[in-house]
């Protein structure tokens, strides 16, 4: 496993998590620089809630960065954190816009981490980082594989720091991970990312 050495060049960070990952995001967000230029897309597994504003508001309390639910066909902007809406898959288009999709669940999940990661890798190639957090599902493993095969960088949350270690542990055993990191290290890593347009 290669270790992360210096500053990473990345225009997009995709973060996927299932059970036990909300706490990790709540821990990472306050540690992020307020002048971040990399874009972040977060895919959580969650129950479809009639009021998704509650989650967005909860996350927004933790950072000065713009946090918003991803909307169909909106352009990805620098320094914005996008949250995948419940009950839709979230895809990344070639023109760096977002698309929603209501097709079959993948890995019993909609949104599926795999699908967001795979479509992101297709567009951002080696200019992106995929992060897989705590979870009991195997969603995200194929996504990390796709990111790695396009030259992107993959991080798994340290299973010891994960409330539900199955998902990151599985990614590590599949050798699709470049770095294992605690939530604080993930935040530091994101802060050190340099975008290509800076």
């Amino acid at each position: 496993m290669k270790r992360y050495g210096g500053n990473m060049i990345a225009d997009l960070i995709t973060i996927g998590g299932s059970a036990g990952s909300l706490q990790v995001i709540l821990e990472i967000l306050p540690k992020l620089r307020s002048d971040l230029s990399v874009s972040i897309i977060v895919v959580f597994h969650r129950k479809s809630a009639p009021n998704s504003e509650m989650l967005i508001n909860l996350l927004a309390l933790k950072t000065t960065l713009t946090i918003k639910e991803a909307e169909d066909k909106e352009k990805i902007k620098p320094g914005v954190v996008y949250i995948a809406p419940a009950d839709y898959h979230l895809f990344i288009e070639k023109d760096h816009s977002l698309s929603l999709d209501a097709s079959e669940k993948v890995n019993f999940s909609r949104p599926s981490i795999d699908l967001t990661f795979i479509t992101a890798a297709d567009v951002y190639q080696n200019r992106m980082v995929g992060v897989l957090l705590s979870g009991a599902n195997s969603d995200g493993i194929r996504g990390l594989e796709a990111i790695q095969s396009q030259g992107g960088y993959c991080i798994a949350q340290d299973p010891l720091s994960s409330q539900v270690p199955y998902m990151p542990a599985k990614a590590i055993s599949k050798k699709v991970v470049d770095t294992i990191a605690t939530p604080s290290e993930i935040a530091l890593f994101i802060n050190n990312c340099k975008t290509t347009f800076q």
């Binding site: 009950d87 698309s99 929603l100 999709d101 097709s103 795979i118 796709a146």
Partner: protein, 275 residues
């Protein structure tokens, strides 16, 4: 087969040839979703390469029907998003009741679950006798399924739960009869729905309606095609008619939006106010 094995230029080539050979134009569909559907089709139909799929599609008109069925997303439920149907039941359907005759268009109806849900709402409001629901899709194969009114018994449990949370108060099983592992919906509902092929990409407005439902259809289109479809819907909607969209869709950025008012900040329903 992984993403990188299907090249973007192969997809463009396939879409151009498909349009030429069969008249279906998918060029303004969102690419990421299209690519995923194509990769999925190559996997489930075990094509050894993308070129084989391309060849079969252009030369085998039977395969075209399967292609259309698999390439478009046909995932749907009865009373999907029960809160939405509750709002229709409480606020929109009663207003429609004031018309002498009610015409509703379900655009992109897939296997018809939403059309049957609307028929049930109208029945319970005592309006079905003076209503007609047009349910259209580009895909002839799913329309056949929709027309039959036959659904799997397995999905009925979820549908009944949705029905109850949408404010349904009848015995849901009174709307269908079950046999083996399927149910068939009642003739009274079926005869009030006209199922027909219609392609939002290439066909024009065919009637005027007081309510158009186009939910989770526009997300598969790029903004250019979305604009075209909004114009088509606008032409098909009476003044003071309603347009209902999916929970994550919006009319906000459409050129027709100045004529429309969202009826409730929490509902994706807009009313036309043509001055």
């Amino acid at each position: 087969m992984e993403v990188q094995i299907v090249r973007d230029e192969d997809i463009e080539g396939l879409l151009i040839d498909l349009h030429r050979a069969h008249g279906y134009d998918f060029s303004d569909y969102s690419r990421a979703s299209m690519k995923r559907r194509l990769i999925r089709l190559i996997t489930i139909d075990r094509f050894p390469s993308f070129a084989e799929l391309h060849y079969r599609l252009i030369n085998d008109s039977f395969y075209l029907r399967r292609f259309l069925e698999e390439i478009t997303v046909n995932v749907t439920e009865m009373f999907r998003d029960p809160e939405f149907f509750k709002y229709l039941r409480q606020h929109i359907i009663p207003t429609l009741g004031t018309y002498p005759f009610i015409r509703i268009w379900v655009a992109g109806c897939a296997s018809g679950e939403e059309a049957y849900s609307i028929a049930i709402l109208l029945k319970e409001a005592n309006l079905l006798h003076k209503s007609l629901i047009y349910a259209t899709d580009l895909n002839p194969r799913v329309l056949e399924k929709a027309k039959s009114g036959i659904f799997s018994l397995r999905s009925i449990k979820q549908y009944s739960e949705n029905y109850l949370s949408s404010g349904g108060y009848q015995d849901f099983s009174s709307y269908y009869s079950a046999k083996y592992d399927v149910v068939i919906f009642n003739e009274t509902l079926r005869k009030k729905i006209v199922f027909s092929t219609h392609n939002l990409v290439s066909d024009s407005s065919f009637n005027s309606f007081q309510l158009v439902l186009c939910r989770n259809v526009l997300i598969y289109f790029n903004t250019h095609l979305q604009g075209r479809v909004f114009d088509l819907i606008d032409k098909s909607l009476d003044n003071l008619g309603y347009l209902a969209m999916g929970t994550k869709e919006t009319l906000r950025f459409a050129s027709i939006s100045p004529k429309y008012k969202q009826v409730d900040p929490n509902e994706k329903i807009w009313r036309k106010h043509d001055s």
